[in-house]
Amino acid sequence: MDKSKMTEMFFGPNHPGVPGNYGINYYYEGDTVIEAEPNAGHLHRGFEKLMEEREWIKNTPLVCRICVMEPDINEMVYAMGYEAIGEIEVPERAKYIRSIILELARIQAHIFSIGGNCGAIGLYTAMQWGVLARDYILDIFEEITGGRVYHIYIRPGGVRHDIKDETFKKILDLLDDLENNRLPDVQKLIFENPTAQKRWKDTAILNQEDALRLGVTGPSLRATGLDHDVRKLMPYGAYDKVDFDVPVGHNSDAWTRMKLKRDEIFQSIKIIRQLINNIPDGPVTVDLGNALKYKIPKGEAYVKVESARGEYGYYMVSDGGLKPYRVHVRGTSTPLGLYGVEALLPGTRIEDVPVWAHSLGICPPEFDR
């Protein structure tokens, strides 16, 4: 390829439009990208090696720091992997509480993502509203678990402690407020705004054949017409006891994905109301003995859950000792952030590259680990 007429651009780590500390180096000519490659590894901390050096319980505060937007999903997968190898059964009340926490985390991740997408095209009012609505949900987390961002609440065997009835009433009041006051305002500002529609329609297209070939999951795959969702395919927690729909789109551009995220927020509100009204009584954890001497027999497991952006999987191997033998983390945006840049980005305009990165949900700490 004759590169003498092309210009090289570093859409690099120090940029307000990139979702995290991550870079894309690309060549462009005129207004269109011709060739691109990812520049990853700025956030590498060596999680998989650190997890082999610490006992099973000491990894619980470490695992939630892998993905910073939605930390509860990592604690859930680690606990599920431990319980799968050790064949431990979690009590019913703990399953309901875990599902409530995961759905609240999904709502706040979607609100933050909608706000971030609007910031990438210049609609700054929506970004302020999005961050504010997410802050009220973080207040609820602080009342339940003690921390705003990192909770360390779900652990092998159940959850750390029980939730009181007044907190359930506060959650229901907050959901009423979101559904009746804030989301209709957001609907008028973003989704009925002709400038935003013009900017998002027909940009960052991902068709169904490419998505299946790459291994993409989550809202990016559901926007192409298939309704695959791990909560319905392989239910975990209390998801087989509630009734909800999985929204599907047909156009697979950035506009369809935004509408899917808004529809999923309404479905999550419906799930939380059903869970709170039907929660049983009972213990919230199984007693596993001395925490520093947790042990499970030899074995391996591959477990996965549905996070706000797609499928999240862990492969865990145990050799019967006090520390894990191998833990491998498969983040959601691994195929899109690494290979997708090389295969799908050529052909877009250079002002649409931040929209592409934000709307497909690329989160760099997941593949850098």
């Binding site: 780590p13 120090n14 307000p16 995290g20 500390n21 590894g41 700025h42 956030l43 590498h44 901390r45 060596g46 090696k49 650190l50 050096e53 505060p61 470490l62 720091r65 910073v68 937007m69 970004m127 302020q128 961050v131 504010l132 802050d135 705003r148 961002v149 990192y150 700490p365």
Partner: protein
């Protein structure tokens, strides 16, 4: 500035003006950056103190190192710091900049930030709340008024110390302006 104006009444006026308009470089280096959007937006508003975000290093005053630094990021942060104009301030954010924090036994993160860049203020926490960040900024403004925030002068006088520490970890660092 001419020598006869330093340490005189002019310096006090300049310090007063400088502490009321600080620009922060919008570079999210680590996981602590998730608590910056709540600080910048309307709930814990920081622009009422005169602090706002800037896009490029040539136009910024404060460089916030939010959290841990891997060796790949350290190289880019050194280039960014040397591109900023005087006077400039560095804030260490979180407990990973003090002594390694949660990743103390990782092969890819640096343990003490003080050996590679001159730090003016540390904010403790993992991660710090937005109210703690605002208190850190107010403390920085007091230091500027008194004349204590002189990290940029220390970088010039102790340049050999910082340079040898950086090259121990990174190999060769090309300097260009």
């Amino acid at each position: 500035m001419k020598e006869k104006y330093k340490n005189s009444k002019w310096q006090e006026v300049i310090n007063w003006a400088q502490k009321r308009s600080l620009f922060m470089l919008h570079y999210c280096t680590g996981c602590g950056a998730i608590e910056l959007p709540p600080t910048m937006t309307s709930r814990y508003d920081m622009s009422r103190f005169g602090i706002g975000p800037a896009a490029t290093p040539r136009q910024a005053d404060i460089l916030i190192i939010t959290g841990y630094l891997s060796t790949k990021t350290l190289r880019r942060v050194i280039y960014t710091y040397e591109q900023m104009q005087d006077p400039k301030y560095v804030l260490g954010f979180g407990s990973c900049t003090i002594n390694g924090g949660m990743y103390w036994d990782s092969y890819n993160t640096v343990k003490q930030l003080d050996k590679y860049l001159p730090v003016d203020l540390y904010i403790a926490g993992c991660m710090p709340r937005p109210e703690a960040i605002l208190e850190g900024f107010l403390e920085l403004k007091n230091k500027i008024e008194v004349g204590d925030a002189d990290g940029y002068k220390r970088y010039k006088t102790d340049y050999e110390y910082y340079k040898s520490n950086q090259e121990n970890v990174l190999g060769e660092v090309k300097r260009r302006q």
